[in-house]
Symmetry: C2
DNA sequence: CACAATTAAGTTGTGCACAACTCAATGCCT
DNA sequence: AGGCATTGAGTTGTGCACAACTTAATTGTG
């Protein structure tokens, strides 16, 4: 029989311990945000805008829907964000001719040119983590598993 | 000699790979957010508000500054949030008599009563992760190390 | 074909995060 | 004591995330 600390934690204990993972997750996310904010300042991009640009640099022209799919964002977030990117002259938005519901985002020359300016960012971020590639991938895998589990749990409430 | 993918990744490769950790981190954070949103709906709390309540349930009366220290939030975020908690009748805010700059947040009876209602939340979250306690702690440690590294990197820009 | 259901964007409203700022209270220092 | 920097909250403005809703185009079905 086991008389270790015990597998049974009281709700009070959990209430005290709770927040820990999400605290850590939150803190890490914000730390990333701060760093990106600094590194992206010269490019005139916010971190979410940078993520959208990353998607466009990889995939070229894309409908809003697909961008949202890649980033797990809905039109309520993307519509104003894309408007700002368009106002900044980095992308153009055009209604698809074949399906008039769909709007496609496409890089302008300036948007494409920004790519080379952004090229140094990932390396600086990677260096800042202090992790090597294997560790990063491992951490990522754990986080993705976590996300999947949470999504599944949320699905059947 | 090694002719594997190689330790030297081009900036373009990194640009493609980039976002991965922060993507995963972001996704996990949002997945947590969704789940908490559902579980906290009955309590009438948002997730950040719940975090503040957690701190108050643990520490009792606290100055705004200390709450911010626990949660890594500044007054710009906390002031309106605490106002909403006060409007909801869960806390009271009172200027300290000994230092009139400082404002202390204190649980009302309703705020304290909410604690028992919230007691079931952490367990449900923990279950939803699909991780056991050891894995959670391990992940947490990695995330905290990551945060520290990123903070340090941001400090010397 | 007509009409209901679905889909894609966009809009509105709320709340959070953060930078930059104001203001008052306190501490410090000669 | 006088004067100045520091500290703690709060305010303002921008941008993101998300829920709930609207609008218009498309699809599916009887």
């Amino acid at each position: 029989m086991t008389d270790q600390p015990g597998p049974t934690l009281s709700d009070q204990d959990l209430l005290r311990l709770d927040g820990q993972i999400c605290f850590s997750l939150n803190a890490a996310g914000r730390a990333f945000g701060s760093l990106y904010r600094i590194l992206l300042k010269d490019l005139g991009l916010t971190y979410p805008q940078y993520l959208v640009m990353l998607v466009l640099w990889q995939h070229g022209e894309l409908p809003v829907k697909d961008i949202g799919h890649h980033l797990r964002l809905d039109s309520g977030t993307l519509s104003p964000l894309l408007k700002r990117l368009e106002a900044a002259g980095l992308i153009r938005r055009e209604r698809s001719t074949e399906d008039e519901r769909s709007v496609h985002a496409r890089l302008t020359e300036a948007g494409d040119a920004l790519r080379s300016q952004a090229a140094c960012v990932p390396r600086r971020i990677a260096t800042a983590t202090g992790y090597d590639l294997a560790e990063i991938r491992d951490l990522q895998a754990r986080l993705d598993r976590l996300t999947a589990a949470l999504d599944a749990a949320a699905a059947d409430l």
